[in-house]
């Protein structure tokens, strides 16, 4: 595994470097001072203890957790494009439980909030799973479309049944103090970061050391061989992978409520579920790689805020950078595949019967 891993890291670095060159070129073309802007980007992400802990790391938490969820499904060869929707489902459940557990001990309250979020994420993805198994509906489409439904549900919830008791803003009441994830004083960082790291290591161990993870990867890389030679019930494995993918994304929503916002409101996610796809792909679906790429994208988005504040550069500029990074990676991948090496781990979908 080590030579491909080394190459993956290298292409990753090159891609990020090219992304920044493009960003700098775009900034100077747009009439911004690139040195000042990029400096602001750096300061926004890493410039101070506060920037690092309260912007970069806080942003990275949902990206890592959702990235792991996306990677889990992709490893099994299925595409969960609906992490955003499952994130919202988890957030709704977390906010709903969170205001009802004020009298509980803190551990139980936090546990209840997070478990509710996990279950909500699972239920939300259960719809595409059933559609896929019963009617063969492509999960790419059903998970994607359910994002919009979930968003609409949040809008309905915070203007209707779950609106704050004051009834002024379209948001829910803040969850009980005992239901909030603890964090270091003077920062916005919270224990969700540790949860994210723990999950990444757990998933990595599951993938590499257990029969469960092996079967999942086998189904993703060679569904026919998994079924015929491995006697693996591929449909069940795929369904299970999607359900756990949804569980992780739902948990991401719960952690965001319990650790950062404490309340549910519209646009809680600035597209975490979509950025998570980039996070997972850039990490080549490697759970430990997801930590790195989650931090990278967290830093980029934190830096984007800094750049907007200090240099007046629209935050969208960073999204362009992210897009360039992804394109370079995909291109590098396509080129290496041409000379016969490398794989996204998406296996069968990308590499047809050219083997022989």
């Amino acid at each position: 595994m080590s030579p491909p891993a080394g190459r993956a890291l290298f292409t990753g670095f090159v891609a990020v470097a090219i992304g920044f060159v493009v960003l700098a070129a775009g900034l100077s073309l747009g009439g911004y001072d690139p040195v000042l802007s990029l400096g602001a980007l750096w300061r926004g992400a890493f410039g101070s203890w506060y920037a690092l802990t309260s912007a970069t790391l806080v942003r990275a938490v949902p990206l890592i957790i959702l990235g792991l969820g996306v990677a889990l499904a992709f490893r099994a060869g299925v595409f969960n494009i609906g992490a955003d929707g499952q994130f919202y489902a988890g957030a709704i459940a977390a906010a709903w439980i969170g205001v009802r557990v004020a009298a509980w001990p803190s551990v139980a309250a936090i546990g209840a909030v997070l478990i509710a979020a996990v279950i909500a994420g699972m239920l939300w993805i259960a719809i595409p799973v059933l559609l896929k198994i019963r009617f063969g509906v492509l999960e790419v489409i059903s998970t994607l479309l359910l994002n919009f439904v979930a968003e609409a549900m949040v809008s309905y919830a915070v203007t209707g049944p779950m609106q704050e008791t004051k009834g002024i803003y379209p948001q829910s009441d803040a969850i009980a103090l005992v239901a909030r994830l603890p964090g270091p004083q003077g920062t916005r960082l919270h224990a969700g970061f540790l949860i994210a790291l723990f999950l990444a290591v757990l998933l990595w161990l599951l993938f590499t050391r257990t029969a469960w993870g092996f079967r999942l990867r086998a189904v993703g890389l060679g569904p026919l061989a998994a079924e015929v030679s491995g006697r693996i019930p591929t449909r069940r494995v795929v369904a299970m992978a999607l359900v756990w993918s949804g569980a992780l994304a739902g948990l991401g929503g719960g952690v965001e409520i319990s650790g950062v916002t404490y309340a549910l409101f519209q646009n809680l996610s600035p597209g975490y579920g979509f950025t998570a796809i980039a996070v997972a792909l850039l990490a080549r679906l490697h759970p430990l790689g997801v930590i790195l790429t989650g931090l990278l994208f967290g830093a980029l988005e934190a830096g984007a805020q800094g750049m907007q504040r200090e240099a007046g550069v629209p935050a969208v500029a960073v999204q362009v950078t992210e897009a360039v990074v992804i394109l370079v990676i995909v291109l590098a991948e396509a080129l290496t595949r041409r000379v016969g090496v490398g794989s996204w781990g998406l296996g069968n979908r990308r590499a047809p019967a050219e083997e022989r």
Partner: protein
């Protein structure tokens, strides 16, 4: 490739033979513009040409029929032809097109066609691009004997009409039957070139393999043990036919008659009425790169895939990869599999070595029943001989071995009993049945004695 000349004259069928990895396909891919040569030149009608892509080749009226079908299953025959066609003129449509189209419904979806017709469609598509020079890469691998004859009749018609055909094959009888000239490749070099008339299968085999061992068929040897190593026996009953431990049973059928379903039912992959099986089954599926192996996974991982919960490395839900890797290394050695090590992806191995991995894995299960579909498809003579030896060995230790092969000669050579599947019905061939008798049964003729 290490320097090989190949010349194709109008009006001739030129066979290109050699073992796996001898460079036959590579040479044809160069002629079709798919692979750029490091050195050397390509001449068409005496003029040196540069082929940057198959498109250039097609412009020079060169067409290729690949080993794997390249038609789009969801489209109709007509649509596939239209898709391929750059040029349709009198030569194509008039001389052979009609003959090729006999019995093919232009509006049928390609996925509904039997294999032999899909094969004809591939040729038709190549002709539809205006090709007069046809490169056929192992076109008979999937055909029954009668279908092969039909294909060769077509090939003869093509060359009589002024076309030229290069035919890649492993099968020496085919070379002798249809070609005018023959070129033998071994390890990228031409070892024999000449008129087919002057050759025998001995001389060709000699040139292919390069040592005196050529042509020696292994004989079944040894006393039969009636029990397997584990002392257990498999029982297989197909309607009123019962198979016994230690038997090597061949299955013969024309594609699409239900032999596939039968074999898979015996292997425990799906129920079929009338089939009762008990025993420890190992299955070698036909398509090693999609059903047998996961090309992107390592050899070790592929071993674990097929051996599942082997206690040597399955510790509860945990997998001990180092134990699996050690055992895989031993198997690579024991089966003479050429691979840099147990950690390389199986997709990087040659076809023959991939198949050895699949067989090694199947035998590692210590089965009492071994079911194989086309186990030597696409393998060279040496590897095929080794496969046969292993199957006989397994039968000698009491394993019930059931082999299907598209190659009827292989079935007859290997098997002591032959089952013929025709329209879903399983019948046993009479003892000592020859090629002709079994071939007739494959087409539905009742066997004479019972």
């Amino acid at each position: 490739m290490r320097g090989a000349d190949f010349a194709l004259a109008p009006g001739e069928v030129h066979a290109l033979v050699g073992e796996n990895g001898a460079g036959k396909s590579t040479l044809m891919h160069i002629a079709y513009g798919m692979v750029a040569p490091d050195a050397g030149s390509i001449l068409v009608d005496g003029r040196a040409v540069k082929l940057a892509s198959p498109r250039d080749a097609r412009a020079l009226r060169i067409g290729m029929v690949h080993q794997h079908f390249t038609s789009i299953g969801g489209l109709t025959v007509g649509e596939n032809i239209a898709l391929a066609a750059g040029r349709l003129d009198g030569w194509t449509a008039g001389v052979v097109g009609q003959r090729l189209l006999e019995g093919i419904d232009l509006d049928a979806p390609v996925e509904a066609l039997p294999v032999a017709q899909r094969q004809r469609l591939e040729i038709l598509k190549a002709l539809a691009t205006g090709a007069k020079i046809l490169l056929l890469d192992e076109p008979t691998a999937v055909l029954a004997p009668a279908e092969v004859d039909e294909l060769f009749a077509l090939v003869r018609e093509l060359v009589q009409a002024g076309g030229a055909v290069a035919l890649i094959t492993h099968k020496l009888p085919e070379v002798l039957a249809v070609s005018d000239r023959v070129t033998v490749l071994r390890r990228g070099m031409v070892t024999l070139h000449g008129a087919t008339q002057e050759q025998t299968d001995q001389s060709l085999a000699q040139a292919m393999i390069g040592d005196a061992a050529a042509g020696n068929k292994e004989q079944a040897t040894g006393d039969r043990q009636q029990t397997s190593r584990s002392g257990q026996q498999a029982t297989v009953r197909i309607h009123n036919i019962e198979l016994h431990a230690g038997e090597l049973v061949g299955v013969a059928a024309v594609e699409g008659n239900g032999h596939r379903e039968l074999l898979r039912a015996i292997a425990g992959l799906g129920p079929l009425p009338g089939v009762q099986v008990a025993g420890r089954v190992a299955f070698v599926p036909e398509d090693r790169s999609t059903e047998g192996l996961i090309p992107a996974m390592s050899i070790t991982e592929n071993m674990v895939l097929g051996l599942g919960d082997d206690p040597r490395w399955a510790r509860g839900t945990r997998l001990d990869w180092s134990a699996a890797r050690v055992r895989t290394g031993e198997l690579l050695e024991g089966f003479g599999i050429v691979a840099p090590g147990p950690d390389v992806p199986t997709g990087t191995l040659s076809g023959g070595n991939q198949q050895k991995v699949v067989l090694a894995r199947a035998l590692e299960r210590h089965p009492t029943l071994l079911v194989l579909e086309n186990p030597t498809r696409g393998l060279d003579a040496r590897t095929t001989g080794e496969m046969h030896r292993r199957l006989r060995e397994a039968a000698n230790t009491g394993v019930t071995v059931i082999v299907y092969s598209t190659d009827l000669d292989e079935v007859l050579e290997l098997a002591e009993r032959v089952l013929v599947v025709w329209k879903g019905e399983v019948r046993e061939g009479p003892t000592g049945a020859d090629r002709r008798a079994v071939g007739a049964m494959m087409l539905g003729v009742e066997p004479r004695e019972r």
